[in-house]
Symmetry: D2
Subunit: 317 residues, 4 copies
Amino acid sequence: MTPIRSQYGSSADLDIPKVLARIHEEVRPLIGQGKVASYIPRLACVPANRFGMAVATLDGALYTEGDTDELFSIQSISKVFTLNLALEALGSDLWKRVGREPSGNAFNSLVQLERERGIPRNPFINAGAHVIADVVLSHTSNARQKLLEFVRDRADNQAIIMDEEVAISERDAGFRNFALANFLRSFNNIENKVDDVLDFYFHQCALQMSCADLAHAFLHLANGGICQRSGESVIKPDRVKRINALMMTCGTYDAAGEFAFRVGLPAKSGVGGGIVAVVPSVMTVVVWSPGLDEKGNSLAGAAALGRFTELTGLSIF
Amino acid sequence: MTPIRSQYGSSADLDIPKVLARIHEEVRPLIGQGKVASYIPRLACVPANRFGMAVATLDGALYTEGDTDELFSIQSISKVFTLNLALEALGSDLWKRVGREPSGNAFNSLVQLERERGIPRNPFINAGAHVIADVVLSHTSNARQKLLEFVRDRADNQAIIMDEEVAISERDAGFRNFALANFLRSFNNIENKVDDVLDFYFHQCALQMSCADLAHAFLHLANGGICQRSGESVIKPDRVKRINALMMTCGTYDAAGEFAFRVGLPAKSGVGGGIVAVVPSVMTVVVWSPGLDEKGNSLAGAAALGRFTELTGLSIF
Amino acid sequence: MTPIRSQYGSSADLDIPKVLARIHEEVRPLIGQGKVASYIPRLACVPANRFGMAVATLDGALYTEGDTDELFSIQSISKVFTLNLALEALGSDLWKRVGREPSGNAFNSLVQLERERGIPRNPFINAGAHVIADVVLSHTSNARQKLLEFVRDRADNQAIIMDEEVAISERDAGFRNFALANFLRSFNNIENKVDDVLDFYFHQCALQMSCADLAHAFLHLANGGICQRSGESVIKPDRVKRINALMMTCGTYDAAGEFAFRVGLPAKSGVGGGIVAVVPSVMTVVVWSPGLDEKGNSLAGAAALGRFTELTGLSIF
Amino acid sequence: MTPIRSQYGSSADLDIPKVLARIHEEVRPLIGQGKVASYIPRLACVPANRFGMAVATLDGALYTEGDTDELFSIQSISKVFTLNLALEALGSDLWKRVGREPSGNAFNSLVQLERERGIPRNPFINAGAHVIADVVLSHTSNARQKLLEFVRDRADNQAIIMDEEVAISERDAGFRNFALANFLRSFNNIENKVDDVLDFYFHQCALQMSCADLAHAFLHLANGGICQRSGESVIKPDRVKRINALMMTCGTYDAAGEFAFRVGLPAKSGVGGGIVAVVPSVMTVVVWSPGLDEKGNSLAGAAALGRFTELTGLSIF
């Protein structure tokens, strides 16, 4: 039996540069609004008035608008990369150690974790990401290098690095993360040394990437797990589906419901101001603007993504 | 600018009867498994070995398989109907009284409600549905009649009734609901008498419908809010989008993440064993089987829906 | 073996009237401070500038100072009376239905109750008092009359009544209590109809008594359970010890630790502004002043009791 | 005005050796029951069948029964010593950083801490003890030495040491404590390095003392803060009252209500099986037996203390 559609159809009919330019114009009043993340100096000094947007399509095109070459700290967006690696390493056994449901709590809350005996609700809250980091550590001789290689290959950019200063600042300010990871360890849901797990975690968050880098690096998630350049399999289709579903329900902190409504696409945000959205079978859309709304998502970025799916009809609903 | 697709395309190429028959065959070993809801006698006595499935398409076709004419208690599925009514009555002011995010807690938990000062996380947890019922009561002279008319019109079936015995049993066993509603009242988030609100709520849950009824009754949510028969507007497109997004992130109790992965469609379930899914621009899919999994969703039903989107390619991801 | 002391010795050497007068003088600047309970009209209209104090000794003396004959709503102080009755009815089986430990939560919180599956932490938080009321109801043909008789006998004052207007106002404003009691019912920890339990509960809170009434009514708790007038046993010594221990650790809402430090005596407070303290083997001390501190205890009253134990050396520590 | 009693009178009339022997006989069936703490090897290997009891009176006598010279790990009992030091260092400003009320939660719960924004409920739950340890660290050049000196002086035994192996084991198993301390640090309620705070904390818990040592070391808390040997002031009377009140309401984990009833004295327990009780103006009573009840208090020890106050009439109630 043939499916009635190859998912979302093609982007051939769309004048994407025009769409992006129009969105940039429309959201201009929002750029610079919101609060730039300030808990570490390196993030606090990023100029608030930046805005960039990039679209990478399955047919190989890249469209950019605004500050798309500027590097920013991808922060929690990195949780999607490590989830890729952990799923490849453990397969569905991973779900014995981390849940797959939205949390309804702040991303760094300990309350739910205590009630649920050390099993984080999903891989995108911090505790879940610690477990994922632990899994990657246990299955790799050099986790940081492995992650770098994965991201560089996905983005087709060997110049991508982790910002050591950000990683160190994260560690020095990361008491809540130390609390969470030790708590997980007390439930035996961390196998490696807490310091090692968090060292890896702080480094993954410190990945410096551009909108264009991220648009490429997520493209296999729009392509059923296949690398759009080489045609080789990066991750199994079933796991792609799982990752996209998790981004849809848990990818934007405590605003997943709002994103489902406004954007209607699987998306993952970071406090560096980046948001990546995946249009299955069609494209990835990345937006970056450092000012955050009260839920911790890029204020102008969320508005831009909402307009993008409205203008292109790419929303699910 | 033209959207690149009219959402999901058409169902013309699909041999739906064959799909439904195949699914029925495949899930047969699951039918009768799980637990039939037993907290009230009328639900407890429903035979576990029932299974029905119905698909209604935008082009007017209805496809059925199994026990599709049998009436069952729609229970929480009714929350979508009352949300329709409340949104039409209050518009976006409704969101001052109820949130739009997944809860991460049991559907009838009071904990989160206390922490969030009487604002339920979403309209589909019980507390949220009480607020919605209260809104409908405040804006209608005869809420129960109004709801009946709405549902009968949507389903194009004037014979639909509320099962008085179910409603009475619900009330007599509904201490947790009385706790929730009084709690809401203590935060001034219920305007009417608690007894009146719950009387309406227990009656909405007691709606008796068939798979076919529900497939028709949800079709406007697959059609941008337009009645597929008359062409008249039932609810604004923006509100349809909101309702579908809410079903996607909060429609299946504490299994929304799992549903997003397995089914990949907005869906709403009830402890009567029914589940309704919406394929925007294409169709509705309804399944019913009384045995529930540990999260309270129809066990065979969830499996059937998962297979449906796999076989038809209608999943989002 | 003879105990080394008959508890606290005798009050013979104390010039209690002088102590009370001095305290009245000292706390005068505090009288009228704090907030008078305002959630029902009848309590809200009590003048804030009232202050009364009464001491009843085991040797039969009564000492009064200030507004000691004025009647006030004893509110939560009544929980000690019903605990007396419930313990007599059920004995130690009572502790299967209610705990004996401090709660660390607001007196009307539902959170802990949910976590502990419907067993209230102690008989003095509202949920615990509902269970106690339920027990009394189950073991008495006319609970309200039974309680009235008990209190009138203890206080040796047949004129004591329940203020019907207060009881009705409590009911009309008591949504949180309805929430709690229905919640208990959902855990099968209420046997009677919720409305009946709360009707009794609201009436017990509506008892109108004076400082002098209360000083007499608690005297058996300073006397090992023996009525100081008739010499008959009111309640077994072991149960007296239990009640006093509960007042010590849980009698003053979320300020039991502070009371243990400042006052160092078993005490029970009510939002009507009354506080009763028991000096085992010696006396009872009652204070009343309607202005409450942020924890819900009489502001001037707590200060007066603290001074009383300092001046008399009657504190435990 | 003269207080009516010098607190609890004198112990002159009591035949304490006979009382202790009788209690030993009575509780013999309980010795060896319960669970010996097993989370670190050094504690796990303590023989369960030990029982010791010691009484030190203000007039200089020491009475012992059973295994009173055997050294055991005092664990949480040490929290009273560090509270002494912290109160001397900071005075009442200490209460800005830690509360004084019972918690109603497990001693190592993070939930309440999150809700109350990093202010532990009292100094005897682990988080509270971490804050206390932090205060001592901030006000002393060599905190560990300072504590050792304080304890040796109080116990009049220069041979008291900290068991380094216990301290190291605690650290290696102490993930929950690391979680708590990092959590406190995230709320800025820890000033020193988390590792330093916990290193001190684990060492305080590792103090090895006998029943006799502890009986002497707590005697100033029965003596208004005055050293019974030298007559010098160890801690101000007001602070003694505060410490005793805290032991009364929070000294025995989640069994303070039960202890108030059964024992009726300020007491502090540890998972090493020790319990210290203070009879103000009269004596200290120490009991040790390693088997713990489900709340974490010595099972035979609690029974022994209960019998002690019954037989001597020294209970408050």
